[in-house]
Symmetry: C2
Subunit: 181 residues, 2 copies
């Protein structure tokens, strides 16, 4: 079974974006880039929800290189619109199947790790299907007060083991947890 | 001006208690006790909301020794009921005045530090009045999925500087932040 890692950045009060999806409070720097690049060598599949992908598109990126990028949306209409917008890319697939079933099947194939980008509904459904093995959070030094919650749809308690801590120079801290089963 | 520190324990998804106020997921051990005891020597005032105090009472404690304990409730009726229940204690005061005004006045008196126990409404009103200087979170290795949120009533973005990290053996991590003004 491949390892599935949920990787995201969040505020100290556990939001992944402002209410209007704003992410201007996120810090990006060489330290984060190095951690991210090292981690991305361990995966060859990246899964994300439509909203996270829209943020990526808005930043001018259509895919993360070196991995197959699966973008999930339950709406066939939105899927078609996205496919049209992105065009044919060898490493991008817009999927409107059930994410948990799809990722469960991917997980049982052979390959490197699978990374889930972003929290929200997709992360919730994968947690609920017990498909997540590790969670890596880049906790940012800010209280937003309101926003889009980190884990909005978790239906049960998930116990974790902290296995790595990286304190960054910019007051961010990267916490890596293993899910306890 | 005295330093006001908000100290609390939270889940990784930023809840301070289950929906039913349950705190069975909180770990307490010698490491936490040592950190707490060292910190409590730096304060002589402890402020908390009624709900936090009810949890303390349920645990068989009427006050934290070595500090004046102020318990806030906006309801005069609940304040009277609490006073009756607790009885006369030299170091406990049940206050139904506006918490932000009261703590603002305490902060300008001479003395050691002031600690705010617990998050919730009290913490929110003190943040909104810009009275908090530091936040110390004991982040627990658990995703609860739902519960009472850490900072429910913050009206503006609060920027922080991470100045201390203590990783505990039980997968908890204590993060100390200074508010950036």
């Amino acid at each position: 079974m491949r390892k599935v890692t949920l990787g995201l950045a969040n505020s100290l009060d556990s939001f992944i974006a402002r209410k209007d999806s704003g992410s201007d409070w996120l810090h990006w720097n060489n330290e984060v880039a190095a951690i991210s690049a090292r981690f991305m060598k361990t995966v060859d599949v990246l899964v994300m929800g439509r909203k996270t992908y829209e943020v990526m598109l808005a930043a001018g990126e259509t895919s993360y290189p070196g991995a197959t990028n699966y973008v999930f949306t339950r709406s066939a209409k939105k899927a078609a619109a996205l496919r049209k917008r992105v065009g044919k890319k060898a490493n991008v697939q817009i999927v409107s199947d059930d994410a948990a079933t799809f990722v469960g099947q991917l997980k049982s194939t052979t390959g490197k790790g699978i990374v889930v980008f972003g929290g929200g509904k997709l992360a919730g459904s994968l947690f609920n299907a017990d498909l997540i093995d590790e969670v890596v959070l880049n906790v940012h030094p800010v209280i937003l007060g309101s926003g889009i919650p980190l884990f909005p749809e978790i239906e049960r308690q998930i116990n974790l083991e902290l296995f790595e801590v990286k304190r960054l120079k910019n007051s961010c801290i990267v916490l890596s947890y293993r899910i306890q089963r």
